[in-house]
Symmetry: C2
Subunit: 113 residues, 2 copies
Amino acid sequence: MVNYNGRSYVCLLDFAMDFIRGKWKAVLLCHLYNEPKRFLELQRMTEGISQKVLNEKLKELENDELVCKKVYAEIPPKVEYSLTNKGKELTSIIKQIESWSVKHYPELDNKCV
Amino acid sequence: MVNYNGRSYVCLLDFAMDFIRGKWKAVLLCHLYNEPKRFLELQRMTEGISQKVLNEKLKELENDELVCKKVYAEIPPKVEYSLTNKGKELTSIIKQIESWSVKHYPELDNKCV
């Protein structure tokens, strides 16, 4: 058993998978892989996500130090999200899962990024 | 949008992540990585999983052609689960996620297999 921040995991893989649990987080990380994105860009790229859920998921990724939020002192304010080094490493692995599905389900090919 | 077996996914990564969604499937695949395992071995290795849920998850992995179930004509019957080639490829990627967490959270190190 692994205990972290008041939660229990059966092992370190279970712990790691929790960072990308649910429908959106792996997809969002992939959207940020090549370059930083603004909130509205991410929402536009991520079909079906609501503003509330996107906000919530970005906050979770930020708390987990996978994503970094940068606010530029401009008017109107510009906010950008990018991957941290730790997030970039995890995302490069997640992208292999995407490649795995492209290989095995070529008829469904429709890449995220 | 990707449609497959009556379900919709925002992209091929969302589709692929669905194979290992939830608490158990990624962990079970890793348990099968090195060699085939019997049901009770898997249950023993996977702390906290009930017989019902293990059965259900193995069936899902089998339906997704990631795991293969082999029944030996013996008395008492011997049943073994192993990874298919497709499952082995996916699992080798999942194991990188485990290594990522070992690297970034060394204080929690407690490998699954």
